[in-house]
Point group: C2
Chain length 470, copies 2
């Protein structure tokens, strides 16, 4: 027998860098293998790589220091609910004949169908038009000004649009002094924030203004101030992600408010109780206002690479960095990893919409997926799928929450502080747990799922941060 | 160099049976090891081994068939809350001048301190005595009859004692037709079910009778029937074990009832709202009544080896098997794996007490530990510790719940159906998540923890089931 040309080793142990395919085939053959995650930085985009070299190179120390302060503010601010008030009375620079809408700035002609309907419903609820057709003409004629809610310290979920008579939660960040606002959640069903403009949808807006708002104002002034994120952190321990699911936090809040609900002697107590009993997303808007009060504080820090605005109007997806008003835009993505109501699917689905992605910036929503069986249902069904989503977010985040703790990960904090450098370098984009609206017929919600942020706006933000010299 | 006397193998792979110590030392040396769980059956008790030989031998098929039916009933019964009523009006054979107490039958002279106080408080609340001293004399004189709540289809948590005027939840098992009852939870603080007999504790009993009972009756008759275990199964997904922690299920129930709470126009609406707002164990008693309605159905099956009563009066720990009224008793154990309120410890702690262990028989409490961060805190702090507790229960249970699903275990059902054969064979005793009362001074709750059932009553039940022939 001839001697072998090559002497094969008797034992093989492999370290594989990059494509996991090779590692898997070694493992399949029963040998030990260490997989090292590695990908081509920024997908090989040369301008982005050059920017990263600057931002991870000479400027890294300054950015890291700014980022640490941004994360501290996102993590340590203490937003408390202090009041419920009429938007026009408390929101800065609301202006006449103005509707605040979700997402980055947009002209009427580019507004998507569900948001158009919601804006028209708000115009009718304000009494500026007798019906949605008349409202449409006012909007076409440019008589009504459209303003991004985000430019006024306000955040609104899904396709919400509000006029000055809408009641808003007033949330103050006790550490940073920043104030933020969000309207009262409109609840499920035939409602404008889901892109409906029926009489019932308009009526719900009037109910919030005339019944729920005054009653909540009476209650909050007696029960408050309420530490919003203390409730959120308990919710996280109870399977909420505080975005797609706010069931536990809603219920905790309502049990806290129960004595005042029972005591309230004004009109509509029973009507309000029925509305809130049927609305497990009641806490959503409050959590958003709390998150916004944190990002408003964080965005005062100059020179950081952490995203402090992330919002969608159904047409554009936009982000902003601290110390600047500039939006970096990309096309709003579709919502994937979705579960649809019976009879609907991707073809009937509007694009990702709403300001609720502010939650993903402070450690809620996508970053908290690992704690939420309800979110896991959208990501493959098991807690392992949900844990993977949180771990992916951790790769692009700078810090960990000291208040939102995940039991499934040994009480590790949720990832906080989305760093545009990491997003672009790793080409891992934030995931946002969200609802899905019908694209064109005003049918309302047709499902829910997970949207993945588009990469373009992160690359643009990165290039701008690096400056023209890079 | 001499040849070695023994040729050592170059690779060692070990299968270790029994004591895990050996397996660990192999693993510590970096070699593969398979640990096989094995212990001496029944700890080597010859009578028990003989009984097991009969019950796992010639009679195994008949017992397994009976057990399957018992598990089906525990798992598939549908307990619904249909009413809140005065105990004396609805509880079978309540009798005059009778107090129902937790646990197996017991004479006054053997009753532990916290239960004595609770009984005296109930006697005063009934108006049979002007104060607790007078109540004490009536009890010493045997004028008042003590009856185990369990003998009347009633279950009561901790040191609860009730007279005929107490309001009770009426729960009907829609599948099996069995009815069970539980009083309204007394809430935290200065309360009789924690072994207090102050004026405030008596006042709370009167409040439940005069305010909460009538109001809940009005509400339940409008809102009901309410599927109790549907709420419990949602609670499990939200971190409740539905014994030590019922926060999520309580809140779900209250949000469901909110419209009627707001609508109620009788006296005490605000007082009731304050009481229930501060009571996160409100759901506990309701879950117990639901569990009891299942065990009442299951215990109609003859010849099974699955425990259908498990209750403690603070002196004795007792179990019963289907088809028989006989209690098998052992000394009530201390509560271990405990967290104490500041200033207290094991030396001030009463023994394990209450009927709430009925929950552990239907897949709640200990069997549901793996889903509960709150319970994990008592078992070592991590979800792994809690998962271990559930896995241990699974070893002594015959089935898995089809409704209580644990997200942390890929939605596996909680273990259901404690088989005395397995308990004795493996010497693994059920664990019960429970509170701890002060042993002697009427101080109330001093902590919470996990009690491990004593083995003696299981051995006695096993021997009785095997019969004198074994």
């Amino acid at each position: 027998m001839d001697a072998p040309l090559v002497t094969l080793p008797r034992e093989v142990e492999v370290i594989n860098i990059g494509l996991p395919l090779f590692a898997r085939s070694v493992a399949d053959q029963g040998r030990p293998v260490q997989q090292v995650e590695w990908r081509i930085p920024a997908g090989g985009d040369r301008r982005a790589v050059a920017a990263l070299q600057v931002l991870y190179g000479p400027r890294a120390a300054a950015i890291d220091e700014a980022n640490a302060e941004v994360v501290r503010r996102l993590d340590r601010g203490v937003p408390v609910l202090v009041d419920v008030a009429t938007a026009g009375d408390v929101v800065p620079d609301f202006g006449d004949r103005t509707i605040l809408h979700c997402g980055p700035p947009i002209e009427w002609t580019r507004v998507c169908d569900p948001l158009r309907r919601s804006i028209r419903a708000a115009v009718v609820a304000e009494g500026w038009a007798g019906d949605v057709a008349a409202a449409h003409r006012l909007l076409e004629d440019g008589v009504i000004r459209l303003e991004p809610a985000n430019h006024h310290g306000v955040v609104v979920p899904m396709a919400t649009a509000i006029g000055p008579s809408a009641p808003v939660f007033v949330v103050v960040n006790q550490e940073g002094g920043t104030r933020a606002f969000a309207p009262i959640n409109q609840g499920p069903g035939d409602v404008a924030w889901f892109g409906r403009e029926t009489d019932a949808a308009v009526e719900r807006l009037r109910f919030l203004r005339d019944v729920a708002g005054p009653m909540l104002r009476w209650i909050v002034r007696r029960a408050g101030p309420i530490d919003v994120l203390s409730l959120a952190s308990q919710g996280i321990q109870m399977g909420d992600d505080i975005h797609m699911r706010t069931q536990a936090a809603t219920n905790l809040l309502l049990r806290n408010l129960l004595p005042w609900i029972a005591e309230y002697d004004g009109p509509g107590r029973v009507e309000f109780a029925r509305y809130v009993s049927g609305n497990h997303l009641f806490f959503l808007n409050l959590a958003m206002a709390a998150a916004k009060s944190l990002t408003l504080w964080a965005e005062q820090v100059e020179g950081a690479s952490i995203v402090t605005s992330m919002a969608r109007n159904g047409t554009d997806f936009g982000i902003r960095l601290p110390g600047s008003d500039r939006w970096y835009l990309a096309e709003a993505p579709p919502v994937e990893d979705a579960l649809y109501y019976s009879g609907y699917g991707p073809q009937e689905s509007a694009r990702d919409i709403g300001d609720s992605a502010v939650l993903e910036l402070v450690g809620l929503g996508g970053p908290a997926a690992a704690g939420s069986p309800a979110v896991a249902a959208f990501l493959g069904g098991t807690m392992r799928d949900a844990i993977r989503a949180t771990e992916e977010m951790a790769q692009i985040c700078v810090g960990e929450s000291s208040r939102f703790k995940l039991p499934t990960l040994d009480n590790r904090g949720t990832p906080v502080g989305v760093d545009v450098r990491r997003v672009v370098e790793l080409a891992i984009r934030p995931k946002i747990n969200t609802g899905i609206l019908h694209v064109s017929q005003g049918i309302g919600q047709v499902g829910a799922g997970v949207a993945t942020a588009p990469i373009g706006c992160f690359v643009d933000a990165l290039l701008a941060l690096a400056g023209p010299g890079s």
